[in-house]
Every structure is written in structure tokens, then in C-alpha cells.
């Protein structure tokens, strides 16, 4: 996590007309971390990796594949993962690349890592997720500034470890691409347009900043996630009651609670905690899993369902057997 913390009190000082307490109660975020102006996703991913190496006594030389999930890379090119190979002291015989996904990124990283390991291409895959969405937000966009937080996470996928990765359910619907988008700056629209329009929810849609169509994303999630849950259970030959704990992408509390009710998951088996981090995009699932392991909520012998869903539109999930 970046050092700088932005509290709701700070946000309300900028938007005095805003009933921040009500919003916080609903979306579940009380503070979030913000990357420094000169701090990048690559910098945060490096920190997360070093913490993983230290805490779990991992030798960077043992890593033979490195993947970084980010939509806010340090450069258009090269891949930030290549830079991290050097900075982390990982062998030059290791493969490395970035992949561009958001809230589904953790699950897709596991998909690729499992494939690399099962096929014998790699033995120790370092998966990093890092995002600085806050840099994409317009200063007046209080909704997204309150929901999103910058952050990074690191995970090692190997031939053995603390949890076995089960079968996946995956999905993509590019027809919803415009619902969560930063339109300008890349090659389709290279130059800023300065355009701003009001959307149906009454939010401003800036071409040059991150735009999220809240109601469209919400409806998509309520369609995709319950169906995905059924598919994960089917593919892993499990019933809902066989799952000991559910860790879904921490989008916001309101959405999570709605999903939980639609999926009929008991409250005590369903993780909701984004009070101090906000929605860290591809890192939420790993941050949550680490929190659960540290608290003892997840312990050996448990089957845990994880899912990610969002920008793309893209979704995916699996079962982790601890």
C-alpha cells in the first residue's frame, strides 16, 4: 500500500455538501491509500514482491516466471514486468510480461500461472497486481475517489504451496467495454478531448479520465456473478454448502451485500472488508485472502471460492483448497 492515506474527512473538506457518512455506510470505505505523484504501479508491485520474499523466505532467483496485472503501467512500453525482473533480482532466464485486466485480474493470473506450472513451462510463478486508478480520476469525481484505492499484491504460484487451485469459470463481454473506460491517451484517441457530458445516473463522463457507468456495471454484476458461482460449483463438483468461505472482488460493500443476497450466501461465510483500502481493483482478492489467513478466518482444510468481475467486461472465479 502507498503511504499516503486519504480519509473521508479529507474528502468531505473538498465536497462540503456531500453526506459522506451515508455514502461510507453504504459503500463501506472510510479511508484509502493514494500513490504519491512519482510512485507508480511498478514501484508498488516491487514493494509487494519484496514483502512476500521476506515474509515467506522466497529466493528471487527461484522465480522462473513473472506476471504483472496492471492497467496503469509505468510506460506504454516496455512491460513493467520486464523492469521488475531487473529490480527484483529475478534471473534473466525467467519469462515476464504484463497483462491488462482490472477486477478479474487476480483470477486470470491464476489461470495462466496454473497453465504454466501444469505444462511444466515454469515452476515458480510470481504474480503481481498493482493499480494506481486514483491517477485516472478527475478531481471532481467524488464517487470514484471515495470507492477506489491504490494498492498492490504479490503471490507465488508453485508446484506446491498453501492452497491448491481448482477449476475455473471464466467469461468476457466486450460489448460492455464503454461502461468502465479511460477513453483517451492510448492509440484510439491519442489526444485529450476535454469532453465532458452527464450520464444517466447524473455523473459526469470525462473522456480524459476514468468513467464508470455505475448502474450498468451493477446490473452486469448481478447477472454474471450468480451464474458464475453456479458454474464454479459445477466445474469443481461441489455444492454451495461445500464451500467454507467466499472471497469475492471487493468492489464496494453495497454491491457485495446485494450479490450475497442474490447468491444466498450466509453472512458469516462472506468476506466484506474494504474500510481502509477501498476497491484496489486486481489486488482486492489477494489482500482479502492475506487478511483472512492472518486472522485465521481461512485455515488448512477449507475450500474457498474466489471471484473477480468488472472492467472489460471480464469475470472469472475458482476454488482454492487450503
Amino acid at each position: 500500500m502507498p503511504e499516503r492515506i486519504v480519509t473521508n474527512e479529507e474528502l468531505v473538506a473538498e465536497f462540503p455538501e456531500w453526506s459522506v457518512d451515508k455514502v461510507a455506510a453504504k459503500v463501506g470505505v472510510y479511508s484509502r491509500h493514494l500513490s504519491a505523484p512519482d510512485e507508480t504501479a511498478g514501484d508498488m508491485a516491487e514493494k509487494a514482491a519484496r514483502q512476500l520474499f521476506e515474509e515467506y523466505n522466497v529466493d528471487p532467483k527461484s522465480i522462473d516466471f513473472l506476471m504483472l496485472c496492471t492497467q496503469s503501467p509505468d510506460y506504454f512500453l516496455p512491460s513493467t514486468a520486464c523492469i521488475l525482473q531487473n529490480r527484483l533480482g529475478i534471473s534473466t532466464s525467467a519469462g515476464a510480461f504484463d497483462y491488462n485486466l482490472g477486477c478479474s485480474g487476480c483470477v486470470y493470473g491464476l489461470v495462466v500461472a496454473k497453465g504454466l506450472i501444469e505444462s511444466g513451462i515454469a515452476k515458480n510463478v510470481l504474480m503481481l497486481t498493482a493499480e494506481t486508478y486514483q491517477k485516472y480520476l478527475h478531481p471532481s469525481d467524488k464517487s470514484n475517489r471515495s470507492i477506489f484505492g491504490d494498492g498492490a499484491a504479490a503471490c507465488l504460484i508453485s508446484t506446491e504451496g498453501i492452497a491448491e487451485i481448482g477449476n475455473f469459470s471464466l467469461g468476457t463481454d466486450g460489448s460492455g467495454a464503454e461502461h468502465l473506460i479511460v477513453k483517451t491517451g492510448a492509440t484510439r484517441c491519442k489526444h485529450s478531448t476535454g469532453n465532458v457530458a452527464e450520464d444517466a445516473d447524473g455523473h459526469k463522463r470525462f473522456d480524459d479520465y476514468l468513467y464508470m457507468n455505475g448502474s450498468a456495471i451493477f446490473n452486469f454484476t448481478l447477472d454474471a456473478v450468480p451464474a458464475m458461482m453456479k458454474d464454479i460449483l459445477l466445474k469443481n463438483e461441489m455444492e454451495r454448502d461445500d464451500v467454507d468461505y467466499f472471497v469475492f472482488h471487493q468492489a464496494n460493500k453495497f454491491m457485495l451485500n446485494t450479490i450475497r443476497k442474490v447468491c444466498v450466501i450466509p453472512k458469516d461465510k462472506f468476506y466484506v472488508n474494504l474500510e481502509e483500502t477501498g476497491n484496489t481493483v486486481s489486488s482486492t482478492v489477494m489482500i482479502a485472502l492475506k487478511d483472512c489467513i492472518d486472522r485465521g478466518t481461512i485455515c488448512p482444510g477449507m475450500s474457498v471460492m474466489i471471484t473477480g468481475f468488472g472492467v472489460g467486461l471480464s469475470w472469472g472465479g475458482t476454488i482454492l483448497k487450503f
Binding site: 453504504k26 450520464d199 444517466a200 447524473g202 455505475g214 448502474s215 450498468a216 448481478l222 453495497f254
Partner: protein, 77 residues
Amino acid sequence: MNMELNEFVANFAEQFDDTDPAEIKAETTFRELEEWSSLVGMSVIALAKTTYGKAITGAELKTCQTVEDVFNLISNK
């Protein structure tokens, strides 16, 4: 039909935290309620989806003036 509308009005009123449910009737222009916000709008979209199994968009909700308009929007889906 009236019974259903009454039930919907009650469900609609439940999406508010501070507004007295008695203040919300079928003919209420909900956007004029002090507590109305885009976040309450999201709750209404969730209500349509979870209780009635119908997806309504933010743009469709914007065309509604009264609670009954929202009821009709969902009923006609």
C-alpha cells in the same frame, strides 16, 4: 394490480434511510425528496433486479417522475 403497486411503493420507500415511508406514495415525485441521490437510485436498480428479476438502466430510471412510473417501467419489462 393496486395491491402490487402498494407493495412496490412500500419496497421503494425502504430504499431510503431517513425519509418517512408515509411521505412516499405512488404519485410522489421521488427526485424532489431531500434524501434522493444517485446512490438511492442504485438501490432502486438493485430492488428491480433482486425482488422483481428485471434489469432497469440508469437512463430508464431518469425518464421516471413518480414512484408509479418506476412501477410501470418494471412491470412492462
